[in-house]
């Protein structure tokens, strides 16, 4: 039984998997099966039954998302499937591995997904800096057209699909699906107001599904091997495998495909090899820069959506950033908030003008100019910026997650800085 479907083809030396090798290893079987033997609604049912949840960070059930796409022919016109490959979450590099090493897996997933929602055009919205992925994907798309996996009458059926690669001009906010759509349309990358959701009114006002790379990579395997197989891959309540990653001062930073629900401790200690000598663990951001800190007491929790959610954080992208004892949490959070303040699209006030205020306080604190009122001011900012609904999209609330949890778990560091003191680990510019 295949236990690591996503990385089974990946070569040791990470050279790209060519179409022949991909096919030889069972590639395009999921696509062939679904397009030639299944109806779109049967495909949708399989995905629903598999309990696949979106791997981009929010964990929304993929089958349910797809089911919102109108399937009647009342309003004829294009439908779109967009792959969100704008991987810009701090500390996250899982999609890059999948695209650079095995591009056909993504394309096959997109073919299956497009067929399921009956999209006739698909886009890969790729982070501009992923130059190598752009090369491998372009090559793979060419191969697919040559082999008849893309274009008119795919695999002899009357289903047609065109797939385009779009390299992003580069903003973090393009990872937000509606900002991505605006950017793809050539507009400012501001998130859109919801409702209407993209499933109904997305790219060019047409029904659109936006899915993360890893999510789409799972699709062909599920269709090929069935939902039960997929369910069994997971350890806990979630199904499938997950690309977990670890960065920070650990022995073996990297990215691994593991059963979803593997414990944090196993990922950190077995796969990442534990902390580097001389460093001890203080905390971690479980799923990228916009998730709440977890600490020692959480290490035995399973890395799945529900468990991490209950612990007060989010699994996010599943790629952890480790905080050690020789890094100041205030400085680390400052670094993150600087990033988010800079990546704000500038649309809504709390994010546009609230994050720079937060960044400014943290800058003062980390450079020894902290004042006693700073903690109260930070709490106030967290309160107003940190709730979904107060802002136009989830960027600013996400940005507040590491700050609010750092203040909760590492109060002594904030208090020290609020007294105007510097610390040994913060940059003092």
């Amino acid at each position: 039984m295949i236990t690591t479907p996503l990385t089974k083809n990946v070569h040791e030396d990470r050279r790209v998997v060519l179409v022949e090798d991909y096919e030889a290893n069972g590639g395009y079987q999921g696509a062939r099966k679904s397009i030639t033997q299944m109806t779109p609604s049967e495909c949708l049912q399989v995905i629903k039954d598999s309990n696949l949840r979106g791997r981009g960070g929010a964990g929304f059930p993929t089958g349910m998302k797809w089911s919102f796409v109108p399937m009647d022919n009342v309003s004829p016109g294009h439908k779109y499937l967009v792959c969100n490959a704008d991987e810009m979450e701090p500390g996250t590099f899982k999609d890059r591995l999948l695209m650079e090493c095995d591009p056909h897996q993504l394309i096959e997933g997109m073919i299956c997904g497009s067929y399921t929602i009956q999209a006739d055009i698909a886009y890969i919205f790729l982070r501009g800096e992923y130059v190598k992925a752009a090369e491998t994907l372009s090559q793979a798309i060419k191969e697919c057209y040559a082999k008849g996996y893309l274009g008119r009458s795919i695999m002899g059926t009357n289903y047609s699909l065109d797939l385009y690669l779009h390299t992003s001009a580069g903003r973090y906010i393009c990872g937000e699906e509606t900002a991505l759509i605006n950017s793809l349309e050539g507009k400012r990358a501001n998130p859109r107001a919801k409702p209407p959701f993209p499933q109904v009114s997305g790219l060019w006002g047409r029904p659109t599904i936006v899915n993360n790379v890893e999510t789409l990579c799972n699709i062909s395997h599920i269709l090929d091997h069935g939902p039960e197989w997929f369910q069994e891959l997971g350890i806990g309540e979630d199904a499938g495998t997950k690309m977990y990653g670890v960065s920070g001062n650990v022995q073996n930073p990297g990215c691994w495909e593991l059963p979803i629900g593997t414990t944090i401790r196993e990922i950190l200690e077995v796969h990442a090899g534990g902390m580097l000598p001389g460093y001890s663990f203080r905390g971690l951001l479980p799923g990228g820069g916009s998730t709440d800190f977890l600490v020692e007491e959480h290490l035995d929790l399973a890395m799945d959506y529900g468990t991490i959610g209950k612990a007060g954080s989010r699994m996010g992208t599943g790629t952890m950033i480790i905080l050690d004892d020789k890094t100041c949490p205030v400085g680390m959070v400052k670094n993150l908030i600087d990033f988010f303040a800079h990546e704000s699209c500038g649309f809504c006030t709390p994010c546009r003008d609230g994050l720079p205020q937060t960044a400014h306080i943290l800058q003062d604190m980390s450079s020894g100019k902290g004042e006693s009122r700073d903690i109260e001011n930070l709490e106030r900012l967290v309160k107003f910026i940190g709730s979904i609904g107060n802002t136009h999209c989830a960027l600013a609330p996400g940005a507040m997650e590491p700050l609010q949890s750092a203040m909760k778990y590492f109060p002594e560091d904030f208090e020290r800085h609020a007294k105007g003191k510097k610390c040994n680990y913060c940059e003092t510019d």
């Binding site: 060019w204 500038g346 107060n390």
Partner: protein, 920 residues
Amino acid sequence: MPTIVIDGKEYEVPQGENILEACLGLGLDLPYFCWHPAMGSIGSCRQCAVIQYQNPEDERGKLVMGCMTPVQDGARFSITNEAASSFREFIIESLMVNHPHDCPVCAEGGECHLQDMTVMAGHRDRRYRGLKKTHRNQYLGPLIHHEMNRCITCYRCVRFYKDYAGGSDLSAMASHDHVYFGRHEDGKLESPFSGNLVEVCPTGVFTDKHLVNDYTRKWDLQSAPSICPGCSVGCNTSPGERYGKLKRVHNRYNPDINGYFLCDKGRFGATYVNSEKRIPAVGRRSKDGLFDAIDSSQALTDIAKGLSTSKVIGIGSPRTSIETNFALQNLVGQQNFCTGISETETALVSACIEAIKESGAKIPSPREIERCDAILILGEDVTNTATRIALSLRQAVRNEAFNMAEGLQLQSWQDAATRMLVQDERSPLFLASPHATQLDDIAEGIFNLSPSNIAHLGYSVASLIEGKKDDAAKKTDANDYGNIAEALLKAERPLIISGTGVTDTSVIKAASSITSALVAKGKETYLSLIYQEANTLGITLLDQGQGPSLSNIFEQGENNSIQTLIIVENDLYRRAAKHKVDKLLQAADQVIVLDILDNETCNQADIVIPASSFAECEGTLINFEGRAQRHFPVFESKHPCRPSWEWLTEIGKISSNKNMLEWQCFDDINKACSESSSTLTGINEVAPDRKYRVGGRKIPRQPHRYSGRTAMVANLSVHEPKQTDDTETPLGFTMEGHSGDRPGELIPFVWAPGWNSNHSVHKLQTGSEGELKGGRSVVKIESKKLIQSKQQVKSVNQNNDQDHFIAVAMYKIFGTGELSSQSPGIIELCESESIELAIEAADKLGVSNGDGVTAHGVNGTVDLEVKINDSLISNCVGIIQGMPGAANINPGEGLSLTRSENWVRRSEIISSDQLGGKNV
């Protein structure tokens, strides 16, 4: 109507609104920035946050944005809840992080929405201790001043400029807290609606440059309800004055016409009132040709004497009030009163009135135009001749968008969502014009045709609608024209637009036949016909085709049968060829000119009398739909200026004119006019008369202000001078009086406690974009009642052979208007007198931009500068109307062109040199 609960109190609110507009409609104060009643919601500023409770048990509630939350029956909200009010305070605090503390020197101060909202939201203490961000300002042309540091990033400017008004040269640039609203490079904002940024911007980023450079606070401005005299649309304005100078013009809300927006000619084209070209005194020309200032009573007596002993002709004007023209008509007698409109134009106006009578279509207001869902424009260059209507048309093509949005249960105020859904889908608009127009970007079909071919298109469409397949609809264009016919037939409210601008009566007749055909099919059809000036329709209705035409007067002049010629507010050199006017003015023994600004006709006069401008006198204008509207004096006429109707009445009294003896005031003239014919009945109900009082009090022209008005003349006396009594109108030149609900036509300015900016208008409305609480008189003069004698039109010399070009009238928003083009700012934007040629024509003549050509026409030859207009059809040349010399060429006539050999090209202008001296 759904019932909602706000802070424990039940309210009935209109279905389909959002919480913010519902709250404002209920008179509740809820601060906001990005929402605009005409532009809907996007949810960017997050200022209008309220608490919404999920169910009766919910005590905590959830923070929601008022502007993004639809009202639902039974929904429970709180504005005053601490969680909401502290969030709103935080939003203001955040907006103020980078906002400069320059209120004392900011042109918006005192009418700043940001000031009002800051006070309302309760922000006081600044927690942020960093530096403020600064930006570089841009030169945006002579009309708008840019001060980017004041921006609070509400996105209203680009939403108005790009989304609502279709502009392309203002955008949001950069991101995070560096968002910049401006042009890609310095330069004049190209949209003819750019001036609305001044009112749309909730703070002082975009301000009126004229006002900035000669500044007065709103609380020191004296205002009056007025009507824009710039074109035939009749937008309602609120001009403001101080120290005898017109300082600025603001929009005055009228739900039928201009709503919240004006065009740039209306907003910036009124300061000619302060011009140095104002006629300073009553003058008599001495033998040396110069004018001597004389005593007005002496002049009037002399004129009156002349009236009784000689043949008198009076030439009125389509740019001034009914009352002035009526007074002149009474003074000289109907058979001696000429409208002063050119021969060609008179025939066109008659054709329009005929069309209205025959077609049975409805005449839409600009607001009704916005509801029309299929539009055909025949020839009229609406953006340049009736600019505000072009803005309405841009909304009309969005009806398809609202239909699509309805399919997704999106309310029309969900602006961003609707635009993203709809993308480029529009209701059909078809355009036929000899050249490109500024509405081409929203048109589904564009037909560049000569005027006669436009008429042909019109007739073809009409027969297609009728279902006939006659010769008119030739095979070649059957498809294209069929689309038009089909779209019009499919629409619920089809609209045909034409007017006198294309200067071809057959086009107007074609428009009429299309509307007739649609009406015959049972369609609710609208027909909009545009006239060239503010009172063109009014004076035509007054004249009833009874008086002599302009060419008839030229003939009388040639026969030496005119002794006295009284010309009122009309520069004849703009109406007819120079040699004809010269002859007429020389033939008359005595030429008396009443006018506002000095012009060529004044120069030829024997007696010149200074007349008050629209801002200094009362008057009634009739707009393109036949709607009669009153403008009131904003300030007193400077001695010896007086309203023309007053001068004429006085002359009438001296000469014992029995009609005029009874006239004591404006209202008497107005009443007499209303009673004079059945056509004009009702113009005395346009606005309350001078006796109107509320609780015994007049309506003040000045707001309650706190700076001392005594200081104004403190260099002369520390005693405050008594305010002049206004005996002519229901308004007072004071700050005392009634400022509660009052009729819409008597609202000089908008203000409400806590709402100092123009946003206070919602306090006077019954709902967003709704009716005014104090009511409003709507008087429409039915042109149908007019029985006009058929005009005898001499056909113009049509040399349509290969060597001749057809002269096509072209219009410019800045330059075509006689008075507006004398306003500072606008002067800079007026183009030079030129002839527009298609590139083929230019090649044939061997000329390029800036060269000269000599045009040979029926009125002789004229040298004009060449401007290549690639969109013109090749056998037509464009003559810009209103430019000096343009009247020497009759639109429609065949011109032969030759290269002008002794033409001297103007020296090249380097644009950076132009910027040098400007106040950026």
